[in-house]
Amino acid sequence: MPDVLIQYQAEIVQAILETFIMVGASIVAAVLVGLPVGTLLFLCQKGKVLENKLVHTVLNLLVNIIRSFPFLLLVVFLIPFTRLLVGTAIGTTAAIVPLAIIAIAHYSRLVEQSLLDVPKGVIEAAISMGASVNAIIFKFLYVEARSGLVLGLTTSTISFISYSTIMGVVGGGGIGDFAIRYGYQQFRTDLMMYMIIIMILLVQLIQIIGMTVARKIDKR
């Protein structure tokens, strides 16, 4: 291992840990909230089983608004809300709030798109068998769309890594923050390069895992 990495080992490990926490929390938010929101977006569309123009319009607008913010601005804009929620707007925990919000908006849109790929006829077959809305979601939609849902989460996760890199502005830390602090502010290009390599490897790894899983569970 190069000497600089050993010299900064503790800080780098800390930065990687912070990135994992921020990205991990984003994934949890995406799955726990983004998945249901995306499902609702889909089901409330015209002609779908929960058709509801009001709910669809409101959710759609919210998701669009959140996604149209430049992320840095969203972080700043959310500072009062973050402070209200976690008591502080600074630090890794506080960074999770804007990350979770963008994660939910990001993934819910991809969920909606994946569900749109499920053939309409499959849903009709489910209805004709007397399936409830719950059964339609869990026993048909998610089963049929599962590889799309996994690929969507893969794409989202890679975006979350990118979003997490700017969390230094609110003291969130992470690999990106480390790279900017040393590489940009202290002209340690070597350190920055190593951080970029770590990021590239991380993204590759996630992409490979996502693709492999998606392919394995796809029987279509």
Binding site: S128, E144, K219
Partner: protein
């Protein structure tokens, strides 16, 4: 017995079905024929309320479907099987799971599901295929799985929307004989929508002709039998003369 009472269906501003009334007797193999866009599918889909009539009512065994609560409607649908032109199997479920899901939705006793799935698979001649996925099957095999799924919960009615329209003639015959044997073995009332005169003439006992959303005429016929579709050249000539496909 299925009764449609002056049902109409409006899509946007177009009338897809206009004041159609018809009665289908228990045990019939009932055909609905007409050109594309005549409203056959819409009419069929009213019989399990996949399509809710804009006006009029649908009765199954004398009970109105349109007045049922959601839960009661789901219950009613469990004894009305349906198959489709595109089969509509769940691609990510094995053949076995595709059939089992119908039993699961109907709260069929868990311990008896396996035996019932295998019984249904045997009936359609696919017992060896239970671990395959739909993508590994031919069109005819997929439709057999769809049929097994539709009859798994012992329905009294089987709705068939162009069940053979994406199949070749010999596979069409196989599927038609499966349908006929479901009717004869279990007494299931079968309604077949098709734009193909051959299909209707081979197994239906009563046929309604639809045209532009209206009932044109209903006739009782003697089913010609399935084998004649291919075996008898005259049936091709007849079909051609009828202008059918």
């Amino acid at each position: 017995m299925i009764q449609l009472k002056t049902v109409s269906k409006k899509f946007n501003n177009e009338m897809a079905i206009q004041d159609v009334s018809l009665t289908i007797q228990k045990g019939d193999i009932y055909g609905l024929i007409g050109p594309s866009g005549a409203g056959k599918s819409t009419l069929l889909r009213m019989m399990n309320l996949l399509e809710r009539p804009t006006t009029g009512d649908v009765f199954i065994e004398g009970k109105s479907l349109t007045n049922l609560s959601n839960a009661k409607l789901r219950e009613a649908r469990k004894s009305i099987g349906m198959i489709f032109q595109q089969f509509n199997l769940v691609a990510n479920k094995s053949v076995y799971k595709n059939i089992e899901i119908a039993l699961e939705l109907a709260n069929f006793p868990k311990s008896e599901r396996k035996a019932r799935v295998e019984e249904c698979l045997k009936f359609v001649g696919l017992e060896a295929m239970q671990h395959k996925y739909p993508a590994q099957l031919s069109g005819g095999q997929k439709q057999r799985v769809a049929i097994a799924r539709a009859i798994a919960n012992n329905p009294t009615i089987l709705l068939c929307d162009e069940p053979t329209s994406s199949l070749d003639p010999s596979t069409t015959n196989e599927i038609l004989s499966v349908l006929q044997s479901i009717n004869q073995t279990f007494g299931v009332t079968i309604i077949i929508v098709s734009h193909e005169m051959d299909v209707i003439k081979s197994i239906c006992t009563r046929v309604s002709v639809l045209s532009e959303g209206q009932l044109y005429e209903t006739v009782d016929i003697m089913p010609l039998g399935i084998h004649t579709i291919e075996a008898h050249p005259q049936s091709f000539v007849d079909a051609l003369r009828m202008g059918g496909e």
